[in-house]
C-alpha cells in the first residue's frame, strides 16, 4: 500500500481528532492546540508507525496521552466529580435526547468526568469499536463496556436535569397516548 502523504492524513483525521480533543479539553482553543500537537508529534514519529491502518489509532492514542500529560503538568482542566447515582433505565416516555438541541447534548457530554467522556466520545465518533477504544485509552475491554453504559446513563440524567432547569417542568417528548374505551 503506498504511503499516504501528510496532508491527506491531516484531511482524514483532523476533524475527529478535534472533536475528541474538544470533549477532553472542553474548550476550542485547547482542543485546537491538542490536535495540532498530535500531528506535530506524528510528523516526527511517523516512521515508527509502520502499518498504515494503525495511523488512526496512533493519532487518537497520542492525543489522549498529550491531554493527560498537559493536565498533569498544567492542571488547566479541572476534573468534574463523578455523579454515579442509580442506573436509571429510560422508558419510551422520558428518553430526553430527542427533545434537546445539539448544544445541550454536547454540553451534557462535556460535563461528564473524563473517565466516561473519553470512551463515550470515541464511541459516538463511530470510528472505533469497543476493542479499539480499549486500546486507545489503554484500559480493559470490560472497563470500556462498563464506562459506556454508565456514561450514557449519566448523560441521560443530565439531559433530564437540563430540561427541568430550562423549562421549570418536565415535558415528555412523546406523551403517552390516551387510551379510549
Amino acid at each position: 500500500m503506498p504511503k499516504r502523504d501528510f496532508s491527506s492524513i491531516v484531511d482524514a483525521y483532523y476533524r475527529d481528532l478535534f472533536r475528541f480533543a474538544l470533549s477532553l479539553a472542553r474548550n476550542p482553543d485547547d482542543a485546537a492546540d491538542l490536535t495540532q500537537q498530535t500531528f506535530f508529534i506524528y510528523a516526527e514519529k511517523q516512521h515508527t508507525v509502520r502499518n498504515e491502518k494503525a495511523v488512526k489509532s496512533w493519532l487518537f492514542t497520542t492525543l489522549y496521552r498529550e491531554f493527560l500529560r498537559n493536565r498533569r503538568h498544567a492542571n488547566r482542566f479541572e476534573p468534574m466529580s463523578v455523579e454515579d447515582g442509580p442506573n436509571h433505565e429510560p422508558t419510551e416516555s422520558d428518553d430526553p435526547i430527542t427533545a434537546v438541541d445539539a448544544q445541550t447534548a454536547l454540553d451534557c457530554l462535556q460535563q461528564l468526568d473524563d473517565t466516561f467522556r473519553a470512551p463515550l466520545t470515541l464511541f459516538y465518533l463511530e470510528d472505533f469499536s469497543y476493542q479499539e477504544i480499549a486500546n486507545v485509552l489503554d484500559i480493559p475491554i470490560g472497563t470500556v463496556m462498563s464506562r459506556l453504559s454508565r456514561g450514557k446513563s449519566q448523560i441521560r440524567k443530565r439531559l433530564r436535569s437540563s430540561r427541568q432547569t430550562s423549562d421549570g417542568s418536565v415535558i415528555p417528548f412523546n406523551p403517552p397516548l390516551q387510551r379510549h374505551g
Binding site: 491531516v10 476533524r15 490536535t35 510528523a43 454536547l106 463496556m145
Partner: protein, 249 residues
C-alpha cells in the same frame, strides 16, 4: 446471558451496525430480538446513540485549523534529543579552547578579544538559549572522547587567573534557576573541582556589565570570572553555587 449482560454488550455496539458481525454482539442481538422488552429498549438505545453521534460529528473544527496544522509543520520540527544535548559538550569544549589558546582572548587589558567573544558566544549562547527554553535538570552527557583526548594532548596548562583547574572537561548536566537576577541557565562542568558556567540573557540581568568587559570576583570562597557580550552575560564559577552569585549581582 442475562438481560444485564445483553444490555451491557449492546450498549458497547455502534448504532451504525459496524460491530454487528462480532459473535458476542450477534448473540446479544439475537437474544434482544426475541424479547419484546429488550427489543424496545434496543430501539431506544440506538436512537439515542444515533442522535448523540449526529450531534458530535456535527461539530466543525475552526476554519483555520487545517492550515495551521500544515503551516506549523513547515515552520518548525520538534528538536530531537541530540539537538538539545549537543550544545552542552560543545560549550564545555569551547570554554576549554577559549582558555587554552591565548589567541582566543586577551587578558592583560581585561577585555576579551572580538574573536574570543564571537567564538564563544556562537556556541555558548546557543546552549544558553536552548537551556532557557528546555531546562533539563536530569540531563547527563560528556564531551566526545576524541575531543577530550585532543584537548589533553595539547598539554596546555590552565592560566593562573582561572578560578579552577580543568584538566578534564565535560558537561555533566544543566539546569535553570530563576531569582532576583532573572532567569539563569547553568551548565555544570566536570573538572578537577566542580565548576559551573552560568549564562543569562543580557536583558534579564539587572546592572549587566558592558559588552566586552570582564570582571573577576573572589569572596567567601567564591571564585568567579565574568564577561558579557551584546546578548548574554556569562560567569564561570568555582567554589560556590549559582544561587550565591545572585547576591553579588
Amino acid at each position: 446471558m442475562d438481560k444485564h449482560q445483553i444490555k451491557l454488550i449492546l450498549q458497547a455496539s455502534r448504532a451504525s451496525g459496524a460491530d454487528d458481525d462480532h459473535p458476542c454482539i450477534q448473540e446479544a442481538l439475537r437474544a434482544a430480538r426475541q424479547d419484546p422488552e429488550l427489543a424496545a429498549w434496543l430501539d431506544r438505545e440506538r436512537s439515542f446513540d444515533r442522535t448523540m453521534a449526529g450531534h458530535l460529528t456535527g461539530i466543525e473544527p475552526p476554519a483555520e485549523l487545517r492550515d495551521s496544522i500544515l503551516a506549523g509543520l513547515r515552520l518548525g520540527r520538534r528538536r530531537t534529543w541530540w539537538k538539545v544535548v549537543l550544545p552542552f559538550p560543545l560549550a564545555a569544549c569551547l570554554i576549554a579552547a577559549f582558555f587554552f589558546f591565548p589567541g582566543l582572548h586577551q587578558s592583560s587589558s581585561g577585555t576579551l578579544s572580538a574573536a574570543g567573544v564571537n567564538f564563544f558566544e556562537q556556541y555558548a549562547s546557543l546552549a544558553a538559549s536552548q537551556i532557557i527554553e528546555e531546562a533539563q535538570p536530569a540531563f547527563e552527557t560528556r564531551c566526545p572522547r576524541a575531543t577530550r583526548a585532543w584537548l589533553q594532548d595539547r598539554g596546555v596548562s590552565v592560566p593562573e587567573e582561572m578560578p579552577v583547574r580543568m584538566a578534564r572537561l565535560g558537561s555533566r548536566g544543566c539546569s535553570s534557576i530563576s531569582g532576583p537576577a532573572g532567569k539563569l541557565a547553568v551548565i555544570f562542568l566536570e573538572g578537577e573541582t566542580a565548576v559551573q558556567l552560568v549564562v543569562a540573557e543580557r536583558g534579564s540581568v539587572r546592572n549587566a556589565p558592558p559588552a566586552g568587559s570582564r570582571t573577576r570576583l573572589q569572596a567567601n570562597g567564591m571564585n568567579v570570572l565574568g564577561w558579557a557580550t551584546e546578548t548574554h552575560v556569562f560567569w564561570l564559577m568555582g567554589g560556590c553555587c549559582p544561587e550565591s552569585l545572585e547576591t553579588y549581582l
